[in-house]
C-alpha cells in the first residue's frame, strides 16, 4: 500500500470515528429496512417457484410463469379483478366529489361556531377502526336494528331485511360506509386550499355585482382545481386497490361473489388456502399494472400543470 492511500484510509476512518454517533443513529434504521422491506421484496421471487412454508425465500427451484398462466385461467381471480374495478369505480364517482361539495358548502357558512361544530363532528368517524365500523354497521343494519325499524315505520319496507347478508346490498353498504367514514376528513385538504384564496378577489367580485353562487363557481372552485386534479389523478391510479379491512370484514358466504376484491383474493389464496406462490404472483401482476398507472398519473399531473406539479 502506498503512503498516499494509507493516509486516505486513515482520513476515512478518522472521519467515520468522528461521526460514530450519527452512524449509530442511522444504521439500525437501514438494517430494519433490509429486514422488513428488502427481504420481502426479494421474496417476490416465490411467485416463480413452488414455495412451501418454512423455507427461506432463496434456494427454491423455478417453475417459470406457471402461476401467472394459472391466474388468467382462474375464473375466481378474473371475478376479483372485475369486482375491484367495479367497486373502485363506483366509490370514485360517489366518494371523490363528496368532500369537495362538503368543503364548498362549509365555506358558505358564516357562523364560525356552527362551521367548527359540523367539521369536528364530521372528522369523528375517521378515527374509528374498520372493526368498530363493521360493528356499527352490524348493529344499525341488523334485522331488528334501527334502520329496519325506521324504514318499516315510514312504510318503505313490508318486512325486515338482513342487509349485511344480501348480495345486492353489499355495494351500497361498502360505498356509503366509506363515504360516512371519510368525507369529513378528506374535506380538510379542500378547506385548506379554499382558505388560501385571497379575500380581495371575493371583494372585487362582490363590488362587480357577482352573486354568492357566482363567487363560489368562478372564484372558489377554480382556485382549488389544482388540488382537485392531483387528488383525482391519485384516486384513479389507485383503482386496482381496495379497502382491504372493509372488504375482508364485510365479506360473507352470501356476498362473496361481489365483495371479493384482488386484495382479499390474494389473502384468501395465500394465507388461508396456503397457495403462497400463486397469491404472490397474482399480487405481483396487480402491482405492476398499478405501478404503471401511478407513473402515467404522474406524467398526466405534470402535463396538466405544465410541468409544475408531479406527484412526487
Amino acid at each position: 500500500m502506498t503512503d498516499h492511500s494509507k493516509s486516505k484510509t486513515k482520513l476515512f476512518l478518522k472521519k467515520l470515528l468522528n461521526q460514530r454517533w450519527l452512524q449509530i443513529m442511522v444504521i439500525p434504521g437501514i438494517i430494519w429496512l433490509v429486514i422488513f422491506c428488502y427481504i420481502p421484496m426479494y421474496g417476490i421471487i416465490i411467485a416463480f417457484q413452488d414455495y412451501t412454508p418454512g423455507n427461506p425465500f432463496w434456494g427454491g427451484s423455478f417453475v417459470g410463469f406457471k402461476h401467472f398462466i394459472a391466474f388468467f385461467n382462474d375464473k375466481y381471480a378474473i371475478q376479483a379483478v372485475w369486482n375491484t374495478l367495479r367497486i373502485s369505480f363506483i366509490k370514485l364517482i360517489v366518494t371523490f366529489p363528496a368532500p369537495i361539495i362538503f368543503a364548498l358548502l362549509l365555506n358558505e357558512v358564516t357562523s364560525t361556531r356552527f362551521k367548527k361544530l359540523v367539521q369536528s363532528v364530521s372528522y369523528l368517524p375517521y378515527f374509528i377502526s374498520w372493526v368498530v365500523m363493521w360493528g356499527l354497521l352490524y348493529a344499525l343494519l341488523n334485522i331488528n336494528g334501527p334502520l329496519n325499524t325506521v324504514l318499516e315505520e315510514l312504510g318503505i319496507l313490508d318486512e325486515h331485511i338482513a342487509f349485511l347478508a344480501r348480495v345486492d346490498a353489499f355495494i351500497p353498504i361498502a360505498v356509503l360506509s366509506d363515504l360516512w367514514k371519510g368525507v369529513g376528513w378528506s374535506s380538510i385538504l379542500y378547506l385548506a386550499a379554499i382558505s388560501n384564496v385571497p379575500q380581495d378577489m371575493y371583494e372585487a367580485a362582490y363590488i362587480d355585482g357577482a352573486s354568492r353562487l357566482q363567487r363560489c363557481l368562478h372564484i372558489t372552485l377554480p382556485s382549488i382545481m389544482p388540488t382537485v386534479t392531483i387528488m383525482l389523478i391519485l384516486a384513479v391510479s389507485g383503482i386496482l386497490g381496495s379497502n382491504f379491512d372493509q372488504h375482508l370484514l364485510l365479506q360473507n358466504a352470501n356476498n362473496v361473489s361481489v365483495a371479493r376484491t384482488i386484495d382479499v383474493y390474494v389473502y384468501n389464496m395465500g394465507l388461508q388456502t396456503g397457495r403462497y406462490s400463486y397469491a404472490t404472483a397474482v399480487n405481483l401482476a396487480r402491482s405492476i399494472v398499478s405501478f404503471f398507472l401511478l407513473y402515467a398519473a404522474d406524467r398526466l399531473s405534470r402535463w396538466v400543470s405544465h410541468g409544475e406539479r408531479g406527484l412526487f
Partner: protein, 294 residues
C-alpha cells in the same frame, strides 16, 4: 368587508344550515343509537324499535362484557402497544431523520436512496407475512412494535423539520463538547415537540385501531388487543344470530350475543370518543403536514 345577501341567498342560507345540521346528526347518530341499544335489555332489543333511547334500561350487557378478564387483558395489550409502539416509532424514526439531516453524514446518499426506494416498491402481503413468521415474531408482543418502528414517510417529515431548525442551537452545545447523541436528546428532540406530537398522535391512533396484525400473527388470546377481541365478538355474534333466527329460545336469558357485541363496541371506542374533542386540532395539523409535503 361584509357581504350583503339577497333574499334568495338568505333562503339558501336556511337550507344550508338545515342540511349541514342534518349531516352533523348523521355523523353522530350511529354512535348514539348503539349506546342506547347497549343499555337496553337484550330480549327487548331483539323486538326492534330502539331508535333514540333505551326502553328497558339495564347494565347487564356491560356486566357480561366485564364478566371475565379478557376485556381487561385486551385493554392492557392495547394500551401497552399504543404507548410502546408510539414512543418507539418516534424515537427510532426521528433518530434516523436526525442522522440523515446532517450533510456531512458519510454514505448519506446511499442511506437516503435505500429509504426512498421502499416508498415505491414493496414485497406485498404474502412475502411480508411469511417474513414476519420466519423472523419468529409470530405470537409475540414484539410483532405490534418492531415492524412499526420506522416509517420513511414520517422520517421525511421529521427530517424537513430538523433541517429548518436554527443551527445555532446545536452549535453552542457542540462547543461545550457534547456528542451527537447528547445533542439529539437534549436539544433537538425537545425543540421538535410540535412535529413529534402530530406524528405521535397519528401513530397512536393507528396502534389503537390496529387489529389485522394481531389477527394474522397472534393466536394467543392473552395477547389480543381490544380491536381483535371485538372482531371475534362480532364474528361469533354474526354466526350466533343465525342460530338464534332458527331457534329463538336461545335468547331466553337476559343477554344475547348481539347486545354483548353492542356493549363491547362502546367499551372499545369509549376512550377515542372521550379524548377526541381535546386532540382534534392536532389531528388536523398532522393531516396538513402530510399534505404540504405532497
Amino acid at each position: 368587508m361584509k357581504f350583503k345577501h339577497t333574499t334568495g341567498e338568505k333562503i339558501f342560507d336556511v337550507f344550508l344550515y338545515i342540511f349541514l345540521g342534518l349531516l352533523a346528526v348523521l355523523f353522530i347518530y350511529p354512535f348514539w343509537t348503539v349506546i342506547a341499544m347497549s343499555f337496553n335489555s337484550a330480549t327487548d332489543t331483539m323486538r326492534g324499535g330502539i331508535i333514540l333511547w333505551p326502553r328497558e334500561f339495564t347494565l347487564n350487557n356491560y356486566r357480561a362484557v366485564f364478566k371475565d378478564n379478557s376485556i381487561f387483558q385486551a385493554y392492557f395489550i392495547t394500551i401497552a402497544r399504543t404507548v410502546i409502539g408510539t414512543i418507539g416509532h418516534l424515537l427510532f424514526t426521528s433518530a434516523l431523520a436526525y442522522g440523515l439531516s446532517k450533510k456531512h453524514l458519510m454514505f448519506r446518499k446511499t442511506y437516503f436512496n435505500l429509504c426512498i426506494i421502499t416508498m415505491f416498491f414493496s414485497g406485498g402481503m404474502i412475502p411480508g407475512v411469511l417474513n414476519i413468521f420466519r423472523l419468529g415474531l409470530g405470537n409475540s408482543f414484539l410483532v405490534y412494535v418492531v415492524p412499526g418502528l420506522y416509517s420513511v414517510y414520517d422520517m421525511i417529515i421529521i427530517k424537513s423539520f430538523f433541517n429548518a431548525m436554527p443551527q445555532s442551537l446545536e452549535e453552542s452545545a457542540k462547543i461545550d463538547g457534547a456528542n451527537d447523541l447528547v445533542i439529539f436528546f437534549r436539544i433537538v428532540l425537545p425543540n421538535a415537540k410540535a412535529v413529534l406530537a402530530t406524528i405521535g398522535l397519528a401513530t397512536a391512533v393507528g396502534q389503537w385501531n390496529a387489529w389485522f396484525d394481531a389477527y394474522l400473527y397472534v393466536d394467543n388470546p392473552d395477547l389480543w388487543p381490544v380491536q381483535l377481541l371485538l372482531q371475534r365478538v362480532i364474528a361469533s355474534a354474526t354466526s350466533m344470530s343465525d342460530a338464534v333466527a332458527q331457534n329463538p329460545n336461545i335468547t331466553a336469558g337476559s343477554i344475547s350475543p348481539y347486545s354483548v357485541q353492542l356493549a363491547t363496541i362502546i367499551v372499545a371506542i369509549g376512550p377515542i370518543i372521550l379524548i377526541y374533542p381535546f386532540f382534534q386540532k392536532y389531528f388536523v395539523k398532522g393531516m396538513m403536514i402530510g399534505a404540504i409535503k405532497e
